[in-house]
């Protein structure tokens, strides 16, 4: 849809350009117009959004050029004259093989973990790791204007322990937490991680991922957050 509209606009623009220009320039202008539009199109981040977490079959590009990351000695944070700068791992070396994305670290960390592309330690001593993965989705923002928020406990508990969020940051009771995007953008609530370490808040559809059904139909509610969800607690590693 969007692509067709853009194409129509593009044709119109070219037609206008060639009409107004003297004939000897029209060809050059047309070529220039084509080149400009192609250049602009390459800047548009074409990506499948929304179902990125649920749909495991989604064709996510694996691997990208190491040049997509700024080398440490040019990133404006590291001192290029530092004696150990060449001993540190370059972001491009560490991240280029993971599932690619255009935001944050340019990788999808949750996908990388799910696919086994990385295997981070869950405790300092692996033998002491007791990881409780909770597979429970919570739907939020049921009456708002944006698509409904689906909060997946599973992904969060793969990285974090329960008490990183509960009970100080969020109460574990549906409806007990007053969430606001304003607070998140200030680095509170979800924004404590999202926006600085976990994927940035500009990725709206990562959280606002469940489309709202028209009124009257059986809209999803939190009485049954997720029919397939079960609480699973087990040891891993």
């Amino acid at each position: 849809m969007f692509y067709n509209a853009l194409l129509a606009q593009y044709r119109h623009m070219i037609a206008e350009l060639t009409k107004r220009c003297p004939s000897k320039f029209s060809r050059a202008h047309r070529v220039l117009g084509h080149v400009t539009v192609i250049l602009l199109l390459t800047c548009v981040p074409w990506q499948a959004e929304g179902q990125w977490l649920q749909d495991d079959r989604a064709q996510l590009p694996l691997g990208q050029s190491e040049k997509n990351w700024t080398p440490l000695d040019m990133d404006g944070v590291h001192d290029p004259a530092g004696p150990a700068i060449r001993q540190l791992q370059e972001p491009g070396k560490g991240l280029s093989e993971l599932p690619a994305h255009e935001s944050g670290n340019r990788v999808l960390w949750a996908k990388a973990l799910d696919r086994g592309a990385i295997n981070p330690r869950r405790a300092i001593k692996p033998s002491e790791a007791k990881v409780q993965v909770l597979d429970l989705d919570i739907l939020m923002n049921l009456r708002g204007g944006m698509p409904i928020v689906r909060f997946p406990h599973r992904i969060h508990t793969q990285w974090l322990a329960c008490d990183n969020c509960h009970e100080q940051l969020f109460k574990s009771q549906i409806g007990a937490n007053k969430l606001s995007m304003y607070m998140m953008l200030q680095g509170e609530q979800c924004g404590l991680c999202h926006g600085s370490v976990a994927f940035p808040l500009t990725q709206c559809s990562f959280c606002h991922s469940v489309s709202r059904k028209p009124e009257g139909s059986d809209a999803p509610t939190n009485q049954e957050p997720n029919k397939g969800a079960t609480m699973t607690a087990g040891e891993k590693d």
């Binding site: 990351w69 004696p83 972001p91 560490g94």
Partner: protein, 135 residues
């Protein structure tokens, strides 16, 4: 004609200046500089991406007791050498030990503490916010 060319060049220069990247760092990079430069060392750059490849969040933000708020952790070298905070891993067993000063103290002198490379959002202490949160 000359005036036009001059104007055009000025606009071009302004455009390039605006487009040039400033101090960015990789997404999630934290600069720690409460004590480093006072003690004559370069500021510390902590790369979240590097540690995420190897550890889950709860290892540091639970086991090691790092609070998830920029500026709220007072990490001293004495603590690290005692095996607290970074020293729980940086002890020559799990990761390099504290004697490799320059690997961590690798930041540009004069950098303010806080998050860098946080893109469009103001995360916990998105650089400008850090002062407010320092106690």
């Amino acid at each position: 004609m000359k005036v036009l060319a001059k104007q055009w060049l000025t606009m071009l220069a302004v455009g390039f200046a605006l487009a040039a990247p400033s101090a960015q760092g990789e997404y999630g990079d934290v600069v720690l500089n409460k004590q480093a430069e006072k003690a004559g060392m370069r500021p510390v750059v902590f790369p979240h991406w590097f540690h995420r490849l190897r550890f889950t969040c709860n290892v540091c933000h639970n086991e090691k007791g790092f609070k998830m708020r920029a500026g709220s952790n007072d990490v001293t070298m004495a603590d690290i050498i005692d095996g607290k905070f970074c020293g729980m891993c940086h002890n020559n067993e799990i990761a390099w030990s504290a004697e490799f000063c320059n690997r961590c103290h690798s930041g540009l002198p004069g950098l303010e503490g806080g998050f860098y490379g946080t893109q469009e959002t103001a995360g916990p202490g998105g650089v400008g916010d850090v002062k407010k949160r320092r106690h």
